[in-house]
Point group: C2
Chain length 327, copies 2
């Protein structure tokens, strides 16, 4: 998009509840009022609904979703993942929709995408900041024949798939922080939330939620986030085509999933260890049962983190927040 | 209940959608019309709603639930199990209600009971025959701090608790068939269905469904069931107080759960093996991946069945239907 047009759009989006006059826009952007009018016309052609009222100015009423099944499918080379796909402008959480779809009989491999999540879910009941149109807010639902104990492995598998997909598409080398974060130079790029609905001896469905910061600019992170979060755009220095990236990530996920279902966790574990941050380093694991400090030794065949404390005792860490010393 | 009154009630229940004349009732039961009328009055006093229309007869409109929180609580000696309890006359499935309660913040230990399930759930999407007023159709919801891999242990723990509760209350020695059935002389008395909703590293809640045949008479089982199912009443030869039995079972469950949360699965495993059928015997395990025949060696520390085939290979059975040779 033309740079001035993008600035016009930004101004309109920042004043969604009030009119902004052509004169004000022309002043703020140092362009003529005719130029403002032309950009508004172009935005309308792109699918934005913009009201214009005499003596009041412009107000944006609707934004087109740039996530369209029809825009993703041309890039999608999967066998079953994403063959059933639903895109939404705004949802509370793609996870909630995925649960509904799974219960009403959606096929394994169904993908839910949204431009905006108002209550994006993160691990342990936390929220995930999911502003409009910037990220990949996605839930992938599968119905695998697996024992319950294998489910944490799917989080690790997903992390590996995303690292590989990002590298393939834009050449960035991202690292994995156990259990579910992707980092670049220590800043968070992506989180993974795996949910399961099961009987004791039968998994009904698994939903893998992916929240990836793609086209965020510095200004999209508030103060509390800017020191700990980043986006692919910030790190790569250019805006990315989310539709294409989604297709690449899903393809990479499917390849690893099929490998896993045939050969088990062993090849995934090897890849995971290649990309993992802080293996062999001192860490602190904050768990519900208390904190453990020691060396991150690796992961078990079930995907559980092994931590060796100063006394040489090995602790199995099922769930924790991991802190690494600042380097 | 007076025997003739019970027969009047049975007739009315068998004709719930049509009127039954006093004359017809008097003929069928070989009692006077005045006696019929008196029994109807008594039933009304017991809480049944029975419409009477001149020249048409009687029709039953509502049946009181004999499962009342107030009737169970006097017997209940638990610390947290059943402190939050809901009883229903008729539901599709107590499991569905338990899911709703769990999601809307019900406390760990919440119990759901129903007199009748129209779509009682059994393992692997099957149905559980749950006729009105005869059984214990119950769901127990807990929110344990456990890894996903531990969940199958809760099915085994529940089986042990029910065996012990039944023995304590009526002296019957029931056996466990892996993974989730209680049998008496080879006939099914009870099934257990454990469902879980979780994140990869955090169990949100577990729902343990219990379907126990308590006061069924032979006539309550149709032909397809009568050779494979039985009830406590049939085996014990007397009608039981469901309310008291529920309280005893919940207490026994809580004792074992608290033991398990403190000491792990090991003491539960020992008890389970004491009550288990077919350990050390030849069995066939029918699984999604194929059938395995061999000797049931025992269960692992995770609650997985170990089967040794003729070649001496040990197979881990996560989910199967088990067949034992007829003896």
């Amino acid at each position: 998009m033309n740079e001035n047009r993008e600035r016009v759009l930004d101004e309109l989006l920042q004043h969604r509840d009030s009119f902004l006059s052509g004169e004000e826009l022309s002043k703020r952007l140092s362009i003529s009022r005719t130029a403002v009018w032309k950009h508004i016309e172009e935005l309308r052609r792109d699918g934005y609904t913009i009201n214009a009222v005499r003596k009041q100015g412009y107000m944006i009423k609707a934004v087109p979703s740039s996530l369209e099944v029809s825009a993703i499918h041309p890039f999608l080379e999967t066998e079953f993942v994403g063959k059933e796909m639903y895109t939404y402008g705004e949802v509370m959480s793609t996870q909630l929709i995925a649960h509904e779809k799974a219960k009403s009989g959606a096929a394994s491999g169904t993908v839910i995408l949204a431009d905006l999540q108002t209550q994006g879910k993160a691990r342990l009941g936390r929220r995930w900041h999911s502003p409009k149109g910037t990220g990949i807010w996605m839930s992938l639902m599968v119905k695998p024949y697996l024992p319950l104990s294998a489910i944490p492995q799917l989080t690790l598998l997903t992390a590996v798939a995303l690292v590989r997909g990002i590298h393939q598409e834009i050449g960035l080398e991202v690292q994995i922080k156990w259990p579910n974060d992707l980092l670049f130079h220590g800043k968070k790029l992506c989180g993974i939330l795996t949910e399961v609905q099961a009987e004791a001896d039968q998994v009904n469905y698994v939903i893998i939620g992916i929240g990836m910061n793609v086209n965020h600019q510095e200004k999209d992170f508030d103060e509390s986030l800017s020191s700990i979060a980043t986006s692919l755009r910030i790190e790569k220095g250019k805006k990315l085509d989310r539709n294409k990236l989604i297709a690449v990530l899903l393809k990479e996920w499917e390849i690893l999933y099929q490998l896993y279902m045939k050969q088990g966790f062993s090849p995934i574990k090897t890849l995971w260890e290649t990309y993992a941050l802080s293996l062999g380093q001192q860490i602190t694991a904050r768990t519900v049962q208390g904190n453990y400090t020691g060396m991150a030794k690796g992961i078990t065949d079930e995907g559980i983190l092994l931590l060796e404390d100063e006394q040489g005792t090995i602790h199995k860490i099922y769930s924790a927040d991991i802190e690494t010393p600042k380097t």
